[in-house]
């Protein structure tokens, strides 16, 4: 009888604590737990399903939202290559590939692969094929071929959860998945801080 009462009390306390406990603060804002996602990812082989929260291994996670048809993402290729060269030991790089709802920004997995690997896709005529709003052969993207994970978000569902304002857009998570740097919250950062400076600062280099 005493055991039953004890079990009953414990159950009530557990259930009550579930209701009383504050909800986990999940969102793209700094200090919040990053919204988790399950999506297909490409790392050079087949597209495979990944879960963001299973990637955390204690290192910083740098998430960069890109659109293969966005001219600024095209240019961002160089900066990403340079940053990966500098930080790949201490930072996990993930590119989330979206397809902005802008005419001419109709991306595909083939285009994403070509953008990452710098392989031929489309041509340099303005005919809708290829990267850069269908104006350029993806093989001509500035910077080196990328070697890290590209996540398929061509339906923009992750972008919605992360309140993406546009591309390219950067967010840095700590080793446990908490957002520590969000490009849109520049008021919280040292003046003029770019994502590369932020990575260096968070790694203790600056």
């Amino acid at each position: 009888m005493a055991g039953l009462i004890t079990a009953g009390v414990i159950s009530i306390v557990l259930v009550a604590s579930m209701f009383i406990a504050p909800p986990a603060n999940v969102g793209p804002e700094e200090g919040s737990l990053a919204p988790d996602f399950i999506a297909s990812a490409y790392t050079g082989g087949e597209w495979e399903e990944v879960r963001l929260s299973e990637i955390y291994d204690g290192r910083l996670v740098y998430i960069n939202f890109l659109d293969t048809d966005c001219p600024y993402c095209w240019e961002e290729g160089v900066e990403l290559s340079n940053m990966h060269q500098a930080f790949s030991e201490d930072v996990i790089f993930i590119n989330v590939m979206v397809s902005l709802e802008i005419t001419g920004h109709d991306s595909s997995r083939e285009e994403v692969q070509a953008f990452r690997d710098k392989t031929p896709f489309g041509d340099n005529d303005n005919n809708g094929d290829g990267c850069y709003s269908g104006r350029k052969d993806c093989a001509e993207r500035p910077g080196e071929a990328h070697t890290w994970m590209y996540v398929d978000d061509l339906t923009n569902s992750i972008a919605g959860d992360w309140e993406l304002p546009g591309t390219p857009f950067s967010v840095i998570l700590d080793g446990g998945g908490t957002v520590v740097w969000n490009q849109a919250q520049s008021d919280n950062h040292p003046p003029g801080e770019e994502v590369g400076n932020a990575l260096a600062r968070l790694l203790g280099g600056e």
Binding site: E101, I102, P165, G166, A184, S186, D187
Partner: protein, 189 residues
């Protein structure tokens, strides 16, 4: 497009265009100085509509491009289907200046000329100012064709607020053309 048609700001601009047209048509139906004055009111209303519409596209531009990410990025679709046009970094500016800010400055200059005419329609310089108002308005036409061409042919998307500014310029030109006719026919006073 349904969401665009229920946007209160857009509806306000459409009403402003209709109001400007009404003022002008009303003036045209009247003879003499009173008719000219009403026509100038219509012209003035078109320039004010142009100022407000250009200003609004500038607000959208700043909202999408400048704040808070510091510049160079492709905006997601934003206010009333203007993301494709105003959010496109290749075409949303002329030498780094947004089309909205340029339109604002141009319409402000046209507003000044028409306001001068409206304030003293019997002055000696009126004839010259009508010509200035015409030629300055006409100078905007190549840009109007350029922007419509970019919207229709290149980005294949129409931003309704840009269209309001374009229509305001066309309305303005029609009114000034009629004012010039009135002057030529000695029907100004």
């Amino acid at each position: 497009m349904a969401s665009a048609l229920t946007d209160p700001v857009l509806l306000f601009f459409v009403a402003a265009l209709l109001g400007s047209s009404f003022l002008f048509a009303n003036g045209r139906a009247k003879d003499g100085a009173e008719g000219t004055l009403r026509m100038l009111d219509g012209s003035l209303a078109f320039t004010i509509t142009g100022i407000l519409a250009s200003g609004w596209t500038w607000v959208i531009y700043n909202d999408m491009i400048r704040n808070p990410l510091g510049g160079e990025f492709c905006a997601t679709e934003g206010l009333v289907q203007c993301g494709s046009v105003i959010g496109d970094p290749r075409y949303n500016n002329l030498f780094g200046m947004s089309w909205g800010s340029l339109g604002l400055a141009a319409f402000a200059a046209l507003f000044f000329l028409i306001l001068c005419l409206r304030m003293d329609m019997h002055a000696k310089w009126v004839s010259k100012y009508v010509d200035y108002a015409w030629w300055m308005g006409l100078a905007g036409v190549p840009f109007l064709f350029l922007l419509i061409g970019i919207e229709v042919i290149v980005v294949k998307h129409i931003c309704p607020f840009c269209t309001i500014a374009h229509l305001a310029l066309i309305g303005y030109l029609v009114t000034v053309w009629m004012l010039r006719e009135r002057r030529e026919n000695s029907a100004w006073h």
